[in-house]
Symmetry: C2
Subunit: 423 residues, 2 copies
Amino acid sequence: MSGAERLSASEAVARLEAGTLSAEQLVHDCLDRIAARSAVKAWVWLDRELALAQARARDRDGRPGLLKGVPVGVKDVIDTYDMPTQHGSPIYAGNRPFADAACVALTRIAGGVVLGKTVTTEFANRHPRETVHPHNPAHTPGGSSSGSAAAVADFQVPVAFGTQTGGSTIRPAAFCGVIGYKPSFGEMSRVGIKMQCHNLDTLGIICRSLDDLTLLRAVLLRQPRQAIDRTANAPRIGFCRTPAWDQASAETQALLERTAARLAAAGATVAEVAPAPPDILDQHRRIFEFEAARNYAYEYEAHGEKLSAALRDGLLKPGRALPLAAYIAAIEAAEAFRARLDEVFDECDVLLAPSAVGEAPEGLASTGDARFNAIWTLAWTPCLTLPAGTGGKGLPLGIQLVGARLRDEALLDAAAWVEAHLG
Amino acid sequence: MSGAERLSASEAVARLEAGTLSAEQLVHDCLDRIAARSAVKAWVWLDRELALAQARARDRDGRPGLLKGVPVGVKDVIDTYDMPTQHGSPIYAGNRPFADAACVALTRIAGGVVLGKTVTTEFANRHPRETVHPHNPAHTPGGSSSGSAAAVADFQVPVAFGTQTGGSTIRPAAFCGVIGYKPSFGEMSRVGIKMQCHNLDTLGIICRSLDDLTLLRAVLLRQPRQAIDRTANAPRIGFCRTPAWDQASAETQALLERTAARLAAAGATVAEVAPAPPDILDQHRRIFEFEAARNYAYEYEAHGEKLSAALRDGLLKPGRALPLAAYIAAIEAAEAFRARLDEVFDECDVLLAPSAVGEAPEGLASTGDARFNAIWTLAWTPCLTLPAGTGGKGLPLGIQLVGARLRDEALLDAAAWVEAHLG
C-alpha cells in the first residue's frame, strides 16, 4: 500500500489530476486494505480484477470527468449491470440486473470506478447481515447501509452510496465515525435502487470529507461542482431536541448541549426549536408500513418463506392491514410538518439534532434505533452527520445538521462552519 | 366467441362469481378478439397458451380474489417475471425482469390473469410505435399507453394498465373513447415500472366502466372495494379551461361549453376557476427534462445510438444542460400550484377540463399533444376522462374530470353523477 487508501475522494482527485497518483494505484491500495481487513465483512461482492480493469481504463483515458478514477462502493440494493445485485435477500441470490442504476451510470460517466457491492441489511430494512463495526467487531456498524459505512470508516474506499428510508445512511455513518449525507428528498435519481417506500427512500452518500459531498453532488446531479463557501458568516442554528430526546443516551444529550454551547460561544446564534408534533414518528411508521407492504407484493407472495420474520411479520403484515385512510392521514400530517419546517427555516440556517441514540449497540442482532433519523427522512430535508468524538465505550458519536429542503448547498456551507468550530 | 370480451371487468366478475362464466372462456374470447383484430397491433407480447394456463388455474382454484380470473393488459414499461419487458426500446429487446412489478403482483394476488404486454411508445415517451387507432387505422391511438387504450377500446381486454408522466393515460383513453384514470400521485406503487420522472410518473388504469375503477383501486391498494355512491347530490363543478384553452380545437371548446351548461341544467353548481399560472406547462417541462436526463443516464451513455432522436436530442440533451436552480424553481412553482388547488377544492368537488386538444390526429408520427394532461400530472390530482361523443372525423372525444388530491373516491362519485347526466 502506498497510503492512497487514506485519501478523501477530493484529495485523490487532486493527485489523480496532477498525475502524482494513478487510478490503478489508488484502487490497488483500497483492494489491499480490504484484503487486510476482511474481518470487517463490508463487501458482499468484489472482483479485484474487474475493479483494477476499470481503473486501468480510466488511466488510459486520461482520468476523465470529475472523479478521474476514484473508486466508489455501491450498496447492494443499487443495480449494477456488471455485478450481482442481491438486496441482502436470498430471493435475489445471483440476480444480475440488465442496467446500471442512474447513480452508478452517472458515477461511471464522471470517471468513477465501481469498486464492488457493499453489504446491506435485507432489502435495506432491519434484518442484519454479517458486517461488523470496524473499530470493535463485537458491535454493529449500524444499518441498513452497513457495508458502506464500515468500508468508508475503515479506509477501504473513500466514498460509498447508501440509501435512507428511516435512518439507514445517517445512523451507520454516525456509528462508524464518518460523514453521512441524505440529500433533499427527490433531488437525486432513484432509478435502479430497490424501492422500499416511494415517499421516503433517498439515496445517501457516506464519505470522510465534506468536500467530497460537493464532488458527489456535482456527479450525481450533472452540475458544475460548487465549492463549499468557508468564508460564510456564523450560521443561525436551531437546536432541535426532537420529540425523541428522552430516549437519547445521557452522553448524546450532553454532547448536543455541549456542542450547542460551543457553537454559540464561537459566534453562532443558537435558539431552541421544536417543529415536530409528538406523534411524528407514528406518521413515518404508517407511511413505511403501508408503502412497503404494497411495494414488496411480489416478494411477499412469490417468496414469502425467504423473507425474515422481522420484515414479513413485523412490517409487511401490519402494512397490509393498514386502512388507506390512515395512510392518507399520515401523508397529510407529514405535509403539515414540512410546511411548519419551512417557517422554521425562515429563522434558522440549520438545525442541530442528535444523529443517533448513542454509540453503536453491542451485538449484530440490531442495527440500532432510527428515531433520530426517521423524522428528517419524513421531513424531506437534507441532513448530514459529522463525527463528534467518542462515547463511553470508545466508539464514535455524531451530531446531525439539518438544512432547509432543496437548499443543500447552504447546509454544506453551514456544516463546514460547524466542523471548523467543533473543537 | 361467446361475447364475454364485451363485458366490463365488473360485469365479468359478477358472472365468474355466479359461475355463469369461466375464466378460461373469458380469456379465450379476449384472445379470439385479439386474433381477429390483429391489425390494431395493440400487443407487443402475447402468449396464448400462457394466458389460458393462468385462466385455467384460476378456474381450478375457485376463481379467487376480487378479480376471479379477469384478464388485464400490462403496458410494456411494467415488469412481468414471466413475460419480456422491453420498454418500447431496442435497448431492452428480450429483457426478462427478475420480478413482477408491484401492480402486476397485486393483480395476480387478487386472481387476475396477465393477458400480455401492450405496446408503449419508446420508454413511455413520445417516439411512437406500431399501434393504430381501433376505429380508424389511419389515426394514432394516442400514447404513450397506445396498446392499452386501443386494446380496451377494441374489446380485446376489459382493463389495462398505463402510466402517465405527461398525458400518457388520459390522452389515449380519450382518443380511443374509453375511460382513463390517473390516481393521485404517490398513492399506488410504482415498483417495477420503468421510472421516467420521479415527481410525475403515475400508474394509470384504462377501462370501459367507472365501476371497474373501484375494483382496480381495491386490488392495487389492497383495500376493501368501495362501491361508487350513486345517490350523492349534484357536485359543485369548477369549469377549468386551463391556460392552454386557445389551443383546444373548436369542437373541444364547444363540447366543454355544452357539457358545462348541460350539467348546470341538471342541477350541478358550475363556476369558472383558473388556478393555474400561465407558465405552468413550462414548469412541467423543466421537471420532465431534468429528471429524465438523469433517470436515463445508463441508456444515454451505454446505448445512446439506440435512442430515438426525439428522446435523445429533444429531451435528454436539453435536460442535461438544465441548471439545478431552474429545476428547483420548477419544483417550488409546482408546489405553489398544488397549494392553490387545495384552496380551489374547498369550493368545488370536481373540475371539468378538456381531455385533449381534439380528436386523435391523423398518422402515426405523433401520439398527440399532452398540454391538457401535463397540468394535472404536475398537480398530483386524480383525474379521469369520460367518453363524450365523437368529433368531425367520427373519432371519440372525451371530457376530463379532476378531483382533489388523495380524494379519489370523491372523484369517482362525482364522475358517476356526471356520466349519468351527460345525456
